[in-house]
Symmetry: C2
Subunit: 248 residues, 2 copies
Amino acid sequence: MRGQIQRKIADPVNSQTLADFKVGVDNVIFSVDTLLHRLLVLLVMRQQEPFLGHWCLPGTLVRQGESLEDAAYRILAEKIRVKNLYLEQLYTFGGPNRDPRESIDSYGVRYLSVSYFALVRFEEAELIADKVSGIAWYPVKQVPQLAFDHSEILAYGHRRLQNKLEYSPVAFDVLPDLFTLSDIYQLYTTVLGENFADYSNFRARLLKLGFLYDTGLKASRGAGRPASLYQFDSEAFAKFKDKPLVFI
Amino acid sequence: MRGQIQRKIADPVNSQTLADFKVGVDNVIFSVDTLLHRLLVLLVMRQQEPFLGHWCLPGTLVRQGESLEDAAYRILAEKIRVKNLYLEQLYTFGGPNRDPRESIDSYGVRYLSVSYFALVRFEEAELIADKVSGIAWYPVKQVPQLAFDHSEILAYGHRRLQNKLEYSPVAFDVLPDLFTLSDIYQLYTTVLGENFADYSNFRARLLKLGFLYDTGLKASRGAGRPASLYQFDSEAFAKFKDKPLVFI
DNA sequence: ACAAAAGTGTTTTTTATACACCCATGC
DNA sequence: GCATGGGTGTATAAAAAACACTTTTGT
């Protein structure tokens, strides 16, 4: 905050030492492939220097009149078509020398990244391939070294996802309208690992919360007993707003 | 991210529509007056337009070569002298029109604020009054309307403080080397309100964690039985790192 | 002696964890 | 009929919550 005006009035001495910033938004977009039991993150390949040909998180510059969150949604919409998603601000990375271009044009320009974290439904998400570009879902466990400090951003986003899943109902923003309890369970095990609770206890806890409505409909998927299809009851969930919630 | 260079090379069409940013850091600095049972936040009075004469959060512009966190520490050090504190990034507010100067010099310049949240020890903190200025601890419940969107930032910081206190040991960063269990209890009740747990249960839970060492020393403060003075044992605490922690 | 503050213990309720077992379907 | 996945129940352990009581000080 405080730009030219204050520099002239209040701080003429230090005016050269202030940093000028380019502000961008980078998204850590996760999805869960429950069939293959993999947590995926969306990566794009850089089409120009620096880091030409390296994978990185999808990012964009913020436009005039556009909020940071709008920019995050825009970048997401440019890369994938998806109806339901969860998105929130993650962290702001703004240290010096996080972008090699800072030294090149050496006007003291700094590159700041406000990162956002998103979770989308894998089965629904449709990747938008632009002409040239590389764009792909990468299993989080197999992500290569990323451009800039994006590996660090991704690691931070991964931790946030795990916490979010345990303490808030993000999963339901990403599940289809009708889903089975084991759909949820698969999602949780994939993201959190196998050691958090067995199916039976997970089930009991979730149902006791009372915001899952059993439609009576059944889903038959190959062998085994057909599962009940549930619906998220946002009215019944409303009373949990503000209260801390543990889902695992 | 991506500034002049990319504008010329990759996106000449939209170059006018991109926003330029002034980046500042604003701190929400809390302290707890356990004697008067009040949660306090540090406010300063603006010395220039816009919002001349209004209270706001202490903030600063980021300098060349200075990280965001460095800037946050610098602004804190300019306002108070304090040895122990907890500080972390809070949130980045960067929507359009959050600063009236945007419309004035209308070059499309945007004012972005990376906010930091800090907790310091009230008894130890010494306010640094610069020549003219107003600077004061305000009870959070009695804070007036603040300049810019700082009321919103404060509200966000307040929520974060409450969560932090419940789930992490921030309190111990702010307690003196030797403290009594009721010191901690007072701190918790002041921040979280009176309805979280009674003293007896709070005590039992905290001691069971095993990282508080009873020095055997006693603190006698007026009437009543003298309290044992405890010490935070960071070695014994180490095993709780990474694990989720609930303190209330 | 008694009020005030610290500290201990006990009882009840709730929640977590680990299982064992029954149910409905496809092949 | 049996493998496969869905669903229920139970027994035990641990934790949370409520509250009664004892101890040690100052006055």
